[in-house]
Subunit: 348 residues, 2 copies
């Protein structure tokens, strides 16, 4: 999270908004909290220019719960949905959806070890599908779709946990966008969803109210006690993003950060390697390996000592991974690339 | 939350545990976080003397989600469960369970406007029920069970959101205890569950892994990214409770706090009234009315100006409600009773 957001949260922790108490101790039904929550939604709507026919929800349970809740709500019993398998997280979305919907894997990068994205013209879409699900950015495999795929009249559903708010986005191209907050929005335990309102009416199967997206929308995400702290920090982050110049400015900054790091990798003469096809490289998550895996542990240790980003790769893939989320300043990426050059000289 | 817990969270917000970053920015798979999480569980086990054959889970979605998830996990398709209806929250538990289990309302206080609890010998229990569900403390109606009901061999399931950790408890009498954190544990967005391990094996119907309690237990509540901030604050609260002398000491203190307030109400000559049968009065939530409802708004306004507890009653019931959770010191209850006496003199 941005340093200035954390500093403000620290200042306000014992006395928020003149209430004499912490934001965590406010009733979510109180005037102060409701105003804050509404402002957070308004700021997110401004940032993403969200059209009026979309609802914005602040939920719990993370993206993983939505892997199940989305088919429960968007597909009728016996219905089917198209999924694009582009890495670890889309594969999870598929396996969690399977109890609720007939999954058609319309395309997969698995045969390529997820190093490239299946091109749009290879997707086997079903015009009768309840929706098309894809993962615009794969956190672990470090692949990212540059363009929003055209899927015709079928609603496009996107898990944007790791790249939401990283640059401008045309929300009107989507039926549903969802994102766990813990990458680009705020703390864990909060999920943000942007859903075209007509899709809220699709849920037909029996289920508890708490799983019905329409109920959450009808109650302004206060059907049950929300994650008040997470919502508050998300609001502060939205304000910070607006103050930074909005998503156009963030997009430029993120582009520059990623370019710096990929250049350092590609210019290392093979000392560092990123396995991803250049056309599919993520701007948020950059996995890379050292030419000699025996140096991995030393690289992690020395980089930690140098106060750099957490760099150890995900256990599913090994190697290193740099995550360049919005809160990471350009200076931190510069420090990383300088460390990488220095490390390669010292352990050449 | 206790003042000292909030002050510590404030101090550590930017640099937790020597990490140079906030606890919210730690990987939940990192060594520091895992150690903290394990310590929080160990401290809760100490506080409640939780037997080894019970798992402790830190989940998301609040008690409301568990209203659905518990029948999904504990009852087979077509199975039935017994529910005791003692107020607003048990009624909610019943309606959210209905899509997943045949609900037998074994007893209800509805005919008495929930002012007393149905006595155990009036409960119509089914020995074939998957479980018996009850709500030991009703936040809105202010009724609380003094004794743990004997339900034989059928697992007893309790929503303790509003009275967990308020005093000593014999966990071995329960099959499953669950509690939203936002009353006596920490911030909203976290749910604590204590479940006898054999019950984890009951889930037979098709569902996503994210809804399976056994999966959460097998992954130490890190099947997906947990609410890291909530878990951390819960851990600090457990430490605070241990330092206060544990649950025996908390029980005495809570007893004294409640006695003070009920005495002020009962001794007001009818100026204030609590509608609940004395044998069922809650130690945590004390609803009361003024002899003249036209004074309500003034009472709320003046008490707020005096810096007292949030006193406005829940919209479902009106009137006033004082919540005497663990973090409320005796002094705050004294200040409230003095204010009440003063108010009744001035507006007699």
């Amino acid at each position: 999270m941005p340093q200035s957001v954390l500093e403000r949260a620290q200042r306000e922790l014992l006395d928020w908004n003149g209430s004499g108490a912490s934001v965590m101790e406010q009733s979510h039904r109180g005037k102060r909290f409701i105003e804050m929550a509404a402002q957070a939604e308004a700021d997110l709507r401004t940032l993403l220019a969200i059209p009026a026919d979309y609802a914005v929800l602040f939920l719990q349970g993370g993206a993983t719960q939505q892997f199940a809740q989305i088919p429960m709500n968007l597909a009728g019993e016996g219905g089917s949905a198209d999924y694009v398998d582009s890495g670890h997280w889309s594969a999870k979305a598929i396996s969690e959806a399977a109890p609720y919907v007939r999954v058609n894997v319309a395309a997969s990068g698995r045969a390529d070890d997820y190093r490239r994205l299946p091109s749009r013209d290879s997707w086997q879409l079903d015009p009768q599908a309840a929706y098309v699900h894809y993962t615009p950015n794969e956190t672990i495999h470090g692949v990212e779709f540059r363009e929003i795929p055209d899927v015709g009249a079928v609603p496009l559903v996107a898990d944007m946990s790791s790249n939401i708010l990283s640059g401008p986005l045309d929300v009107s191209r989507f039926g549903l966008i969802y994102a766990g907050a813990q990458k680009n929005i705020g703390p864990s335990g909060l999920l943000v969803m942007i859903i075209r309102r007509d899709l809220l009416q699709r849920a037909t199967r029996p289920m508890a109210r708490i799983f019905r997206l329409a109920e959450h929308a009808a109650h302004d995400s206060m059907l049950n006690t929300p994650n008040t702290w997470g919502w508050y920090l998300a609001g502060l982050t939205f304000q910070w993003l607006l103050a930074q110049g909005g998503l156009a400015a963030m997009g430029q900054r993120n582009h520059a950060k990623a370019a710096l790091l990929y250049e350092a990798i590609d210019g290392s003469g093979g000392y560092y390697r990123n396995p991803v096809d250049p056309s599919a490289r993520s701007r948020m998550n950059v996995p890379f390996t050292l030419h000699d895996g025996a140096l991995d542990a030393m690289f992690v240790r020395e980089s930690e000592t140098a106060g750099l980003l957490a760099l150890k790769g995900h256990k599913a893939l090994g190697g290193m991974r740099a995550s360049l989320y919005n809160a990471v300043p350009l200076e931190a990426v510069l420090a990383l690339t300088e460390f990488m050059q220095d490390f390669s000289r010292r352990h050449g």
